[in-house]
Subunit: 443 residues, 2 copies
């Protein structure tokens, strides 16, 4: 890097935050490097649909490289950042280090098992395509195993599905599993009746969707119960193993347990060094302008950033990540033009959670919706989002298209679904983001 | 099983053969059990399109259980048959044995590395969805690694793709890889030019598509060369490792090697016991009525069966497997009615192999086609096939559909893509089906 070269902006993470930042910087006189350990951007709000076999991975994921193909000031690198060295202004990969003049860290969050990492193999979480395919495999296999099982108790355990955590992802998974059992698979077996499957949704706090207003939590519970999901709130999981779950002194025999309860910040935050304050969940406490304390060239955005607004934390949702990313990019552009940085302001446009067919809840500020109308709003917004994001509908013409244009719709590296090692193996208390059992209120 | 129960027909394998047999028996007064180790039937002729990221797994695979949902005399079991016990008339699974009155074995073929099983990890073959996803992962990752590689020689090795075997699958893979490099990825990278990728197709025999007539082999070669594939015939591979391929004394540095050269019969055939003759490739020499010697209740069909007709072996192609399966089912029906069994007669409707966009060869008896017209024939026939097989076009409406009907389009258990152990670890000479470098001439 010589002084005459354009400033080098490195973005870590190709999720909603990282991608938004890169796109916002499309006219910046800079050399941008976006690094992600996956080759694809993921439309995470629909990931549960891949886990429950409604959608294909490529329907909700798109190669980052293709999305940024025409943006000539960006290069995309497939690689895992292991540390950030603020002293020498470099990000470190396994076999390479990349210098930066400005840095945007947008690596998001991962699962947290509340200090019980030994539960991970028995209760996979849902953050990546591989996670989704692993959950799909387990759920479908459970019905196959039940069909072959002669012992009634063991068969029952195969047909019992426990979801831990009743945030939006837990609620979606519970609803979708119930639909699979009651509709998709209902007539496919000879020895079992899939409609006899039990779907149990466990939540530690007193109500489902705990970050929603109470009336919508109640609506969500009603809709779940109508779909024959057993909703149990105020229940703390004390053990998970290959055969089931313990809730206090009660034992639930279940061969399939899914984890939708804990979120912890990406461990990369800790490599920023002692000068950078983290909150209990491991998130970086950023300045109002989204820089980190003591640095005007390093930004943290999205689920990894911790910032209060009007006395309340900004939620870890996709719209917040995108707004923060665009704001950080603007502040870098201002700095390049010699202008001062501006503080960030989050605009909450509302929250939506879907439960199943024609079942959802929506909190649009003064307007609270539930049932069919909330579900239609959810469907509309998500189809709209997916269109923006190049996919969906395009999928409809994918085969014909790939013949006419040579384009490849399914260019995803999904890798082996072996469980990724859990993020927090140290003695430090695992950082659970309070009030955020997982990414709440996406829209 | 008491005597009053309907006769029990067990079918092993849910490929073209096994599924056709089950469907043909839909009106048989019998209790049918179809066993497969995958939960899905695979439209194998399009598997290379999954490997090359044009199609999603669920576009070419369909749950066997769903396909047979309405056929009440069939049950589907997910499981791997480890042996067949002809004495007691049972098939053995890991934890279960299933009695039969009639048996149809349709377990097909697997890869063969010509006695070099140590090549398997470096040169994956293409038989299953997992194989296809593994190949896709390697191919896409190679371009990503090349983008990050600074050393020119190593970068070159990442951009060199070797396909061993120029039967239909090898030809298809070579053509598709060339298209990916020259079109799909052409503009997506900053440091490499994907169009500089080398695609090398190696074939031991003197020409590509060796089971086709010579004029079509020549046409295929011309079309491959026009697509910038390096076609090398009469070249024997002597070594494969992580860094490349040795061909005689020549060394080709290539980080991606794909295996499309050897086919060996399913090892299940050997568990039939000493009384059942196998050919050199491990296939079962069946009687003209498709039963095995000495038994009137056990049939072998598809790639696992070895039978000559007019002095030539019946080829290991999907149409032959389906015709044999239907014939075996008819012979069982005749036996149940007290009629004698009839000999099988294969009707060859021709062979088609595709190379790339608007490039293919077709041998329809007296009519030989190549180029665009052959490709259109290929496209037409495959779309027709996929429609019959419930998929494709339906895929177009899959998302909307899954919302309206609760159906799940992507219900596939694909499991971990870790390499399955190669089938022939014994000292026995690995059975390579002569003249059948892999499934030739599908249509």
């Amino acid at each position: 890097m010589t002084a005459s070269q354009p400033p080098r902006i490195v973005i870590i993470g190709g999720g909603f935050g990282g991608l938004s930042a890169a796109q916002r910087l499309r006219r910046a006189p800079a050399q941008i490097t976006l690094i992600d350990r996956q080759n694809h951007h993921l439309f995470q709000p629909l990931l549960y649909q891949v886990a429950t076999a409604a959608l294909n991975p490529s329907d909700i994921a798109s190669p980052i490289r293709r999305t940024l193909r025409h943006q000539k000031n960006v290069e995309v690198l497939l690689g895992e950042v292991t540390a950030i060295d603020l002293e020498v202004k470099q990000v470190l990969l396994a076999d390479e280090s990349i210098p930066f003049d400005f840095l945007i860290v947008a690596t998001g969050a991962t699962h947290s098992y509340f200090g019980h990492d030994e539960w991970a193999p028995f209760a996979p979480g849902l953050k990546t395509i591989d996670d989704a395919l692993e959950i799909r495999r387990r759920v479908l296999f459970a019905f196959e195993a039940a069909e072959r099982e002669l012992d009634p108790a063991r068969r029952h355990a195969w047909l019992t599905f426990v979801i831990v955590g009743a945030g939006p992802t837990g609620v979606e998974l519970a609803g979708a599993l119930s639909e699979i059992a009651h509709h998709a698979l209902a007539r496919d077996f000879r020895h079992i009746d899939p409609t006899q499957a039990r779907v149990i949704l466990l939540e530690g706090s007193p109500r489902v969707l705990p970050v929603y207003v109470e009336s919508l939590s109640e609506k969500a519970r009603e809709q779940l119960v109508a779909m024959e999901v057993e909703v149990r709130t105020g229940q703390m999981v004390t053990a998970i193993d290959a055969d089931g779950v313990s809730v206090g002194t009660e034992r639930i025999e279940a061969r399939t347990v899914l984890w939708a309860a804990g979120v912890a910040a990406s461990p990369l935050a800790r490599t920023l060094g002692a000068g950078v304050p983290l909150d209990r969940a491991g998130r970086v406490r950023v300045n109002p302008d989204l820089t980190i304390p003591g640095r005007d060239d390093v930004y943290v955005v999205g689920d990894l950033a911790s910032l209060d607004q009007d006395g309340k934390p900004i939620p870890g949702v996709a719209p917040a990540a995108m707004q923060e990313a665009v704001h950080a990019a603007k502040n870098i552009e201002r700095t390049l033009r010699g202008q001062g940085r501006l503080p960030f302001r989050y605009h909450d446009k509302g929250s939506l959670a879907t439960i199943g067919r024609a079942a959802a809840v929506a909190d649009l500020g003064r307007i609270k919706l539930s049932g069919l109308v909330a579900w239609l709003a959810w469907l509309f917004i998500h189809i709209l989002f997916l269109i923006g994001f190049r996919n969906r509908f395009v999928v409809l013409f994918e085969w014909a298209w790939s013949y006419l244009t040579y384009d490849r719709g399914a260019r995803l590296i999904t890798g082996p679904p072996a469980r990724r090692p859990v993020a927090e193996p140290e003695d430090r208390e695992p950082g659970v983001i309070a009030g955020k059992s997982e990414e709440p209120g996406r829209k």
